[in-house]
Symmetry: none
Subunit: 206 residues, 2 copies
Amino acid sequence: MDHDELTPRQRQILDFIVERTRASGAPPTRVEIAAAFGFRSANAAEEHLRALVRKGAIEMAPGRSRGIRVVSVATPAGGTGVLPLIGQVAAGSPILAVENIESEVAIDAALFQPRADYLLRVRGDSMSGIGVLDGDFLAVHRSATAESGQIVVARIDDEVTVKRLQRDGERVRLCAENPAYAPIEIDLSRGELAIEGLAVGVVRRW
Amino acid sequence: MDHDELTPRQRQILDFIVERTRASGAPPTRVEIAAAFGFRSANAAEEHLRALVRKGAIEMAPGRSRGIRVVSVATPAGGTGVLPLIGQVAAGSPILAVENIESEVAIDAALFQPRADYLLRVRGDSMSGIGVLDGDFLAVHRSATAESGQIVVARIDDEVTVKRLQRDGERVRLCAENPAYAPIEIDLSRGELAIEGLAVGVVRRW
DNA sequence: TCCATGGCTGTATGTTCATACAGTATCGCG
DNA sequence: CGCGATACTGTATGAACATACAGCCATGGA
């Protein structure tokens, strides 16, 4: 984890290993490392590798060719996440109901904070002011509550909408981020508002 | 690409190579493949590998240990893709150089079309007109060429920038999507423009 | 029927690789 | 000053690997 204590030379070696692994599909050998750095002896590479193992930057499988593994630099907490993509939400159905799931998208849910539970296809340009366009996928974290100022996925009269929440005591407003749309005023005491989740990110494919 | 013509056995071998590469960090050797399938001869693995090369499923580097590379790009079951996230590009360095890679993000590269090769952190609001904001991650497909009208990642005077390309014969313009920024005019014959890639999507985390 | 292809066993050879041991030189630290 | 750590050169050895060649058996065309 904390291989900040690496010497500059050791960091170069580590970088080379990462780069070479990515480029060629397998980690380099001692001789390849030596060649890349101009060492006349493969042992120089060997000793650098030992230092990297000692400092926790890599692991080595004994006796195994190209048995170098870079520790932890790569994936932060491997999330082999697949998020459901919600297209249109049928009236009266829960958002995550099977019939609403258009497909599954391979994205790590932990990319977003708090973690995303699903992607919602945005329709219309009511949020264009904050760069959320028609057709974008909104990453949504399920939550029944929200704080003033947050972008929420809400359900009003059985319709799912994305708006910015503004709370002022008992009075709540759902504001579009587009001057062409008027805010929606809601009286909480009548309980017409159901918050479905918080917007935590956007994914757009061109 | 279309190795549907693989026999069931060959597909098993290919799957094993993919799995093993992911699990151990390097492709398996002939002996390891033979051991995994119970072959009593490493040559059985060798011949399977040759068949896979013939059918375009893998490539092999001659004389190189663990020199197997799986050609297929869209990882099979949904794709556990990981894209490098490029923060700031050091002047004079290739975009994908290790020192530019800030982290890795678990997103299926095949989510985008054409496939994304890396994510580039956007700085500034010059593309805010099309919903690309400061801090967004631009999904980029590597390409040295682009057509008029496309959003490109280009390098001018050793600086990486995102703009819309407009080509008019020998004259090329790089336009911001923000009226506050003036278009950049470039004479192609002087060769000052290097196109690094095409924008294929956006990822934003709030 | 012959022949190509897939799928193996068995043996062998030369290269690639990991790794140990013996040195040399520099540098910062107590 | 001496010691340990870094950063190498040089040599060596055995295990790991890629890969060629010689066969065997089955299946599915031509």
